[in-house]
Symmetry: C2
C-alpha cells in the first residue's frame, strides 16, 4: 500500500500537483477556494509530505547539527536543551554529535565529508581544535562556533566575555577578603584557549586590585571535570602555604575541589572559598551551593540559531561576527557562607 503523494491529492482536488505543493508550503498566492479544496483532499487522504523528496528537490535537509565535546557534561546538555527548541522554532531539526574532544573527529566534522548535505549548518563547540585548525574547513558549511575561539571572518562566534567574567569572579573573592587566591583549570597550550582567557581574567582582577599574582597558584588540568578539580585541590592543600580561595574554571572543577576540601575536614567558605564557572544546575543544589559565573545560555542558544539561520538563508557569504551574550556573577554559599 503506497503512501499518498502530492499527485494523489492533486487528482482528488482537481488541481495540478504544483498547486498542491503551493498550498502545502504556504507559497505564493492561492485563492481561498482552491486552498480549501486542496486542504480537504489532504485531510481526506491523510497526506503527509515526503521530507526526503523535498530535501532532494530543494537541496536542503532542514536539519542542523550541534556538536559538543561531551553530552553528559551539564553545561553542554543544558545548552543543548536551549538550542533544540530554538532550532525547532526556526523549522529545523537538530542532530547531535559528541566528539569527546577528539581533534580528528572534530576536524572530520567541519570538513563535512560523508555526511555532506545531511545538515544545512552547524553549531560547533570545539575542544580539541585550535584556532588555526578551525580555519581550514569546508567554507560552504554555514558555521557558528560557541565557546572561546574567535572568528576568522568566515564563521560567527558566540560567547561571553570570558576575561571580564573571570575577572569578576576573582574580584569577588578579593572583595570578600581573600588574599591567597588560586586558579584551577589552566591549559597553556594551543587548544586551551578557553582556559587561557580565564587565566587572563584571573590576572586582570589581581592587577585591578593592585595585587601580585602568585604563579605557583595557577594549576593546570587536562579537562574541566570533577576528578581534575579534586586532584588539583588536593595538590594545593598539600603545599606549605595553601590558598584561602580558589577560582575554578568550571562548576564541575569547583565541585571536585569542594569534595576534596570537605573530605579533609576543611570548611567552605570559612577555610577556603570557592567560585566556579558555568552555573550548572548541580551547583544550585550541592552543599555548599556553588558561587559561579552564569553565562546566559538561552541568549547564547538563540543568538547562535539566529545567526545560523541567517547564514543558511543567504546566497552569498556572510561576514563572520563576534557576538557576546550576557553573563553575571552569582554569589552563593561557597563564597558567602550559609545565610
Amino acid at each position: 500500500m503506497r503512501e499518498t503523494t502530492l499527485r494523489d491529492v492533486a487528482e482528488l482536488a482537481g488541481v495540478s500537483p504544483r498547486t498542491v505543493s503551493n498550498v502545502v508550503n504556504g507559497y505564493a498566492r492561492v485563492t481561498d477556494t482552491t486552498r480549501e479544496k486542496v486542504e480537504r483532499a489532504i485531510a481526506q487522504l491523510g497526506y503527509r509530505p515526503n521530507v526526503l523528496a523535498r530535501n532532494l528537490a530543494t537541496g536542503r535537509s532542514g536539519q542542523i547539527v550541534v556538536v559538543v565535546p561531551y553530552l553528559d557534561t551539564p553545561y553542554f546538555s543544558e545548552l543543548l536543551q536551549a538550542i533544540i527548541p530554538a532550532a525547532r522554532e526556526a523549522g529545523y531539526n537538530v542532530l547531535v554529535d559528541q566528539t569527546d574532544g577528539d581533534p580528528a573527529h572534530e576536524a572530520s566534522l567541519i570538513s563535512q565529508g560523508a555526511r555532506r548535505l545531511l545538515f544545512d549548518g552547524m553549531i560547533f563547540s570545539p575542544l580539541g581544535l585550535s584556532q588555526q585548525d578551525l580555519s581550514v574547513r569546508d567554507q560552504a558549511l554555514p558555521l557558528v562556533v560557541l565557546g572561546e575561539r574567535t572568528s576568522d571572518g568566515t564563521f560567527d562566534h558566540v560567547g561571553i566575555d570570558d576575561i571580564a567574567a573571570s575577572s569578576a569572579a576573582v574580584s569577588h573573592l578579593i572583595e570578600i577578603g581573600r588574599t591567597r587566591i588560586a586558579a584551577i583549570g589552566d591549559q597553556p597550550y594551543p587548544t586551551g584557549e578557553a582556559a587561557q582567557l580565564r587565566t587572563r581574567g584571573f590576572r586582570a582582577a589581581h592587577a585591578a586590585a593592585g595585587r601580585p599574582v602568585d604563579e605557583s597558584l595557577i594549576i593546570g588540568t587536562a579537562r574541566f571535570n570533577r576528578v581534575d578539580g579534586a586532584t588539583a585541590m588536593a595538590a594545593l592543600l598539600d603545599r606549605a602555604d595553601p590558598p584561602d580561595a580558589v577560582f575554578c574554571y568550571s562548576d564541575l572543577v569547583a565541585s571536585g575541589a569542594i569534595h576534596t576540601l570537605l573530605q579533609r575536614g576543611l570548611r567552605v567558605p570559612e577555610d577556603v572559598a570557592i567560585i566556579g564557572y558555568d552555573d550548572i544546575e548541580d551547583g544550585r543544589y550541592g552543599r555548599p551551593t556553588i558561587s559561579t559565573i552564569s553565562p546566559d545560555k538561552k541568549a547564547i542558544a538563540r543568538t547562535a540559531v539566529d545567526r545560523l539561520m541567517l547564514r543558511i538563508g543567504s546566497p552569498e557569504p556572510v561576514p563572520g561576527v563576534e557576538l557576546r551574550a550576557a553573563h553575571r556573577l552569582i554569589p552563593r554559599e561557597s563564597t558567602l557562607g550559609r545565610s
Copy 2:
C-alpha cells in the same frame, strides 16, 4: 560550480553510473580493476555521494531519533552518550528530541506526522504517555521503548528489572539495620508506571524481611528531581517520627534529600541513610557519595540499537519483545558511611 555526481565519476572512469554506485556501496561483485578505476576517479574528482538523493531513492534516511523527556537530566544524557556511538557504529545518525514529558508532544512524535521519513526508527523514553497511549501509534515506525512501560507486542522494550532492583536497594537499607524506611518518588497515577514499579519493589523488600510497610512513609513527587527530593525530605523530617533511611527513586531525588538533611544539621548516613537509583556520575562525587542502583546503560543502549536495527531491516513486522539489561547495587557513603 556544481558538485560532482555519480555520473561525472562514471564518465571519467569509463563505466556506467550504476557500476560507480556499486563500488561506492560495496555492493555486488566488482572486479578489482574496475574498482580501482572507479576509486581513482572518485579521488581525482573528490566525489562525495549525495545523501539526500540516496535517501529518496532508497526510502530511508539513515537516521534514528532518540526521544527523552529531559536532556539535562544526567541519567538521560549519560544514556544518550551511550546510544550515539552505538548507532553510529551501525551506520546511523542520531537525532535528538526532548519532550519535557509533555504528553501531547510525545504523542505527536510516535504518530510521526510531519517528520515522517526523517528517521527510520525511534528509541523512545516516554514520560507523559501511559501504556495505553503508546498503543495507538503509527505501527509502521520501528520503535524501541526504554524505561518502565511494557511492550504491547508491536514494539520492543528495553529496561532493567525495576522491581528486583528497587527491592535490592531497600533490602540493603534493611541489612544495614534501618527500621523506619521511607520512599520518595511514588506517582500513583497512570503515567507513573516507573514510580509504581519502584514502590512495588519497596513493598517486596519489606515483605521479604517480614516487615510491615508504613504507608505514610511513601511520599509522592511530581518529578524525579532535586527540588522534589529536597521538599519531600523536609516533609519527612517535620514529622514526629522521621525515618532513619530513605529509598529515593532517582539519584537526583537522593541528592535533593541529602541537601535537606545536611542543611538541617543531620548526618548521612548516621542519622538517615540514603539510597538512590540510576548511578549518575554526580552521585560518585558528591558528599557523601550516593549509594545507588546502577542500570547497565551501555547494555541498554546497545540492546536498544540492535533491536531497532533488526526492526528497520525486516520487511515484515517483528514481534515485540521484553529485554532486560543488568543492574547492580552500588553501596557508597550515603549508606555505609566514610570508609
